[in-house]
């Protein structure tokens, strides 16, 4: 009988109970990926359990994989002089094939199939499934191979576990050191590995993919070497060299082969009458974040930005200001420290309403928001300078860089249970429509497939993503009745927002959302009731914010003085989020322009 199948059967017999548990976990994970969000929308308690369950399954799966790999390999150990197979008619090549086959059949293929199945169930096309194969395979193998290497270099599970824990502890300590060093020694951070990569998500993805492929290929070569020669010391030496090479190439890698087409921003014709300023009567002073007690105490001054002259339907998202300074009559120039690029404004801001209405064209938005709070950091300086220059008149000048967006309708879905629409790499499904007196709740499941090799997915920067999450200005869902020419925005504050797919998060993001639509609110009067007749012809419409241009404007404000105290009582929205500011500042310290 063929040695490979013989050894495969033997390993299968030995691990049968563990493998049953393993397959059950994969099934549970797939079930969550397919139906988790749907159950969460129906069973309230499940909303709480879902993320926990997803994390637990993910953890157990990783744990089982870490255990199964050495059990498969070490049953016919490659280290030491006492293994049973050494003096039996079992070829080293046959053993290698048997173990590789076992790991592929038991670990890799089921994981791949489960993920493809979940992707397919979530609307992935055949083309997307094909593109997912190399990505999933490389990722899974890059996780399994290091454990397989460790198993081939240790004779017993206890030794494997001990060495594994030591390596894990060493990596954890190194990671902590690498994350702490830049805080205390910002100048030295450029010598640290990997940090540059975070500037460019697609370059990071390229490096990670190359790293995974390297781990798989070199790791497989090392495993093959150990199987065929059983020269453990030599294999360990090769492993150390391979690890050093990996660190070097990760540090030096510049080939962004996964670079995706950027969202094309048309070079918009200069908008002639565009102007920028801020409300000088609306100034808020707050303390800047300090990392150490010894850091200079800094003050941040924020105001309400005003951009005039934008064409109808367009709005700005992030305004980054540079060359910010105060020029005083005596010739003194006071330059601002780094300013946060985040504007603090919620979706309920009035500024988004006209662009939404413009996108809807002839359909009238019946319940627009009228919120007007927002703030942008306009100056940052140390406390003593503020004390010295406060209330002293001068000329404020700055360069304002901002992105211009407008809303586009990307999807129209009949407001019926189970209706769905696919666009690009996304899909939206209506899970449920709950009609209650004066309120209609629509529960949807948003699915987004993001594959490394899928060129149709546009590149999004991490800053864009952070801003989107923070301000929730995109996507926007409305219910629209074309016949009546009426549209409703949902009430702010979803009471459901699940994110089950921790496990497949890289490639598949699914999120259940619930929107409440009502004519009963305190900001609008005399709007029609959303009843059965209204809903009969209704659609769920999704608007996405699409960048249409960028602008840079130098502006000045005469007779401006830095305030000694806030001119208004700040509310929640007036204050720039401390955490975002801190992240932003840290990034700026690491990557000065």
């Amino acid at each position: 009988m063929n040695t490979m199948t013989h050894l495969f059967k033997k390993d299968l017999m030995r691990l049968k109970y563990l493998l049953i548990a393993w397959f059950l976990l994969i099934l549970a994970q797939s079930a969550l990926g397919i139906g988790g969000n749907k159950i969460a929308t129906e069973v309230f308690e499940f909303q709480m359990i879902l993320p926990l369950l997803a994390k637990m399954i993910s953890f157990l799966q990783a744990l089982m994989m870490i255990v199964i790999v050495p059990l498969i390999i070490q049953d016919d150990s490659l280290v030491g002089t006492t293994a049973f197979w050494y003096t039996r008619p079992i070829s080293r090549k046959g053993l290698l094939l048997a173990k590789s086959f076992m790991i592929s059949i038991i670990l890799v293929i089921p994981l791949l199939l489960a993920e493809l199945f979940v992707l397919a169930a979530n609307g992935a096309t055949a083309c997307q499934l094909l593109l997912a194969v190399p990505e999933v395979l490389t990722e899974k193998l890059a996780i399994i191979v290091p454990f397989a290497i460790l198993a081939t270099l240790t004779a017993k599970f206890s030794r494997y576990a001990l060495v594994g824990i030591i390596i894990f502890a060493a990596f954890t300590i190194i990671s902590i050191i690498l994350s702490v060093v830049p805080m205390f020694f910002p100048d030295q951070s450029k010598y640290l590995p990997d940090l540059d990569l975070y500037r460019n998500p697609s370059l990071l993805a390229s490096v990670n993919f190359a790293k995974s492929l390297y781990i798989f290929l070199i790791g497989s070569a090392l495993i093959t070497h150990q199987f065929l020669t059983r020269r453990t010391e030599k294999t360990i030496n090769y492993l150390l060299v391979a690890f050093l090479v990996m660190i070097c190439f990760t540090r030096l890698w510049e080939w962004d082969f996964l670079q995706k087409e950027c969202v094309t921003v048309p070079s918009s014709p200069a908008i002639s009458n565009l102007s920028v300023d801020f409300d000088t009567q609306y100034l808020i002073i707050s303390d800047e974040v300090r990392y150490r007690k010894t850091d200079t105490r800094e003050k941040s001054i924020s105001s309400k930005q005003r951009i005039k002259g934008l064409p109808a339907g367009q709005f700005t998202i992030s305004m980054v200001m540079d060359s910010v300074q105060m020029q005083y009559p005596d010739g003194t120039t006071l330059k601002s420290e780094y300013l946060s690029s985040f504007t603090n404004e919620a979706f309920s801001s009035e500024k988004f309403m006209l662009p939404i209405q413009t996108a809807l064209k002839d359909v009238k938005l019946l319940n627009p928001y009228k919120d007007n709070s927002s703030s942008t950091e306009i100056f940052c300086l140390d406390e003593s300078s503020l004390f010295q220059f406060k209330d002293k008149k001068g000329i404020y000048s700055a360069n304002a860089n901002f992105d211009i967006y407008e809303y586009k309708i990307v999807s129209r879905i009949p407001l019926k249970l189970g209706s769905k629409d696919s666009f690009g790499s996304e899909q939206v499904v209506i899970y449920d429509i709950l009609e209650r007196p004066n309120v209609v709740s629509v529960i949807i499941n948003e699915k987004k497939i993001n594959l490394l090799f899928d060129r149709s997915v546009k590149k999004t920067s991490q800053f864009d993503m952070a801003q989107e999450i923070y301000a929730s200005y995109s996507p926007v869902y409305l219910i629209v009745n074309e016949k009546r020419g009426e549209a409703f925005l949902p009430e702010v504050g979803n009471n459901l927002n699940t994110d089950a797919m921790e496990i497949f998060e890289l490639r598949l993001k699914t999120k259940a959302k619930m929107f409440d639509f009502t004519n009963q609110n305190d900001r609008n009067a005399f709007i029609p009731e959303i009843n059965k007749e209204w809903l009969a012809d209704a659609e769920l419409v999704r608007l996405d914010a699409v960048q249409v241009g960028t602008e840079k404007i130098t502006f000045t404000i005469e007779d401006f003085s830095l305030p000694s105290q806030s001119t208004i009582t700040e509310n929640k929205l007036d204050k720039i989020d401390t955490q975002l500011r801190m992240q932003d500042k840290q990034l700026k310290q690491w990557y000065p322009e």
């Binding site: 040695t3 049973f84 003096t87 008619p89 079992i90 070829s91």
Partner: protein, 302 residues
């Protein structure tokens, strides 16, 4: 192929420590070769080198005519190996274990296997991990005999076995090998046990092979000699090299003659001890020969 095993200048060092040095070994086909030596003498290292479990530092060896370092499945299908240190798939029952082994060998003899199982009274349904050491060794022996290998290698098979099991094991082995022209290479520090089996003997000490000879020849040439002298005399320094461990107690002199031939040896004795009144010559067991060697090497090293 006249020799089942051959080794030339076989050397294995662990770091700077030599475990086996310049070992020249020949095991004739069809012989039962006892590879003797005290603990730590280098027996197991030699066997592991022969079996391609570890690589030699120097020298070469062949097993069944194939370079040890090239031993593969084809050769291992003809070699049975039982070692005190060998790991076994102890999660299996004996039945599963024997079935697992059976599928590796085209020459597996079910009837012979069943005979062995009965002979050793192996409990087929018990898991190996629950067996006593003796039972484990018996299971290993059955799994190494049932395919009728040309060469059987036993590394300290009696170690840790109680006398009853040991006897059973040896009797079993004698029964099995009686009618078959198998080559058996057995390493042990337990000489009494292998004396019943071996027709060739190799003695290794501190990594160096001291003796390699047919058991019969070895026992024929080694004699314990006891002389009674008329008067005590001062023993000369120029005694023959083949006389070991000479002791004198009054009128009596004892020594071991390692090259005994009745007429020649008696002439030599008369020449060295002119006043010799009586000569008693007695045969020696393998153990006694081994001890004589061990003492001689120890003295010569001192």
């Amino acid at each position: 192929m006249n020799n089942a095993i051959e080794a030339k200048c076989l050397t294995k060092r662990f770091g700077k420590n030599p475990a086996v040095q310049n070992l020249d070994l020949t095991v004739p086909t069809g012989s039962i070769f006892a590879f003797l030596g005290p603990n730590g003498a280098g027996k197991t290292t030699t066997i592991k080198t022969l079996m391609n479990i570890i690589k030699p530092t120097q020298g070469s060896s062949t097993v069944l005519g194939v370079d040890s370092q090239k031993l593969g499945p084809k050769e291992f299908a003809q070699i049975g190996y039982v070692s005190e240190n060998q790991e076994m798939p102890d999660w299996m029952t004996i039945n599963q274990f024997l079935n697992y082994c059976k599928k590796m060998y085209s020459t597996w003899d079910d009837k012979f296997c069943n005979d062995l199982i009965n002979q050793f009274s192996l409990p087929l349904k018990q898991k190996i991990k629950n067996l006593s050491r003796g039972m484990k060794m018996k299971a290993a022996l059955v799994s190494s005999l049932a395919y009728r290998p040309k060469l059987l290698i036993f590394d300290e098979p009696f170690s840790g076995l109680d006398p009853l099991v040991r006897d059973e094991f040896i009797t079993g082995m004698l029964d099995i090998t009686e009618d078959r022209n198998w080559t058996i290479f057995i390493s042990s520090h337990d000489i009494d046990e292998v004396e019943r089996l071996a027709d060739w003997v190799g003695i290794i000490d501190k990594g160096t092979l001291k003796v390699i000879e047919k058991t019969e020849d070895l026992q024929n040439r080694f004699r314990r000699i006891e002389l009674t002298l008329a008067d005590p005399i001062n023993i000369k320094n120029n005694l023959p090299r083949e006389w070991y461990l000479l002791e004198q107690q009054g009128h009596t002199v004892h020594f071991i003659d390692s090259q005994y031939e009745q007429a020649k040896s008696e002439d030599k004795i008369r020449e060295m001890f002119a006043n010799c009144e009586n000569i008693i010559v007695s045969g020696m067991s393998l153990r006694e020969i081994f001890v004589a060697f061990a003492k001689k090497f120890m003295i010569s090293e001192l």
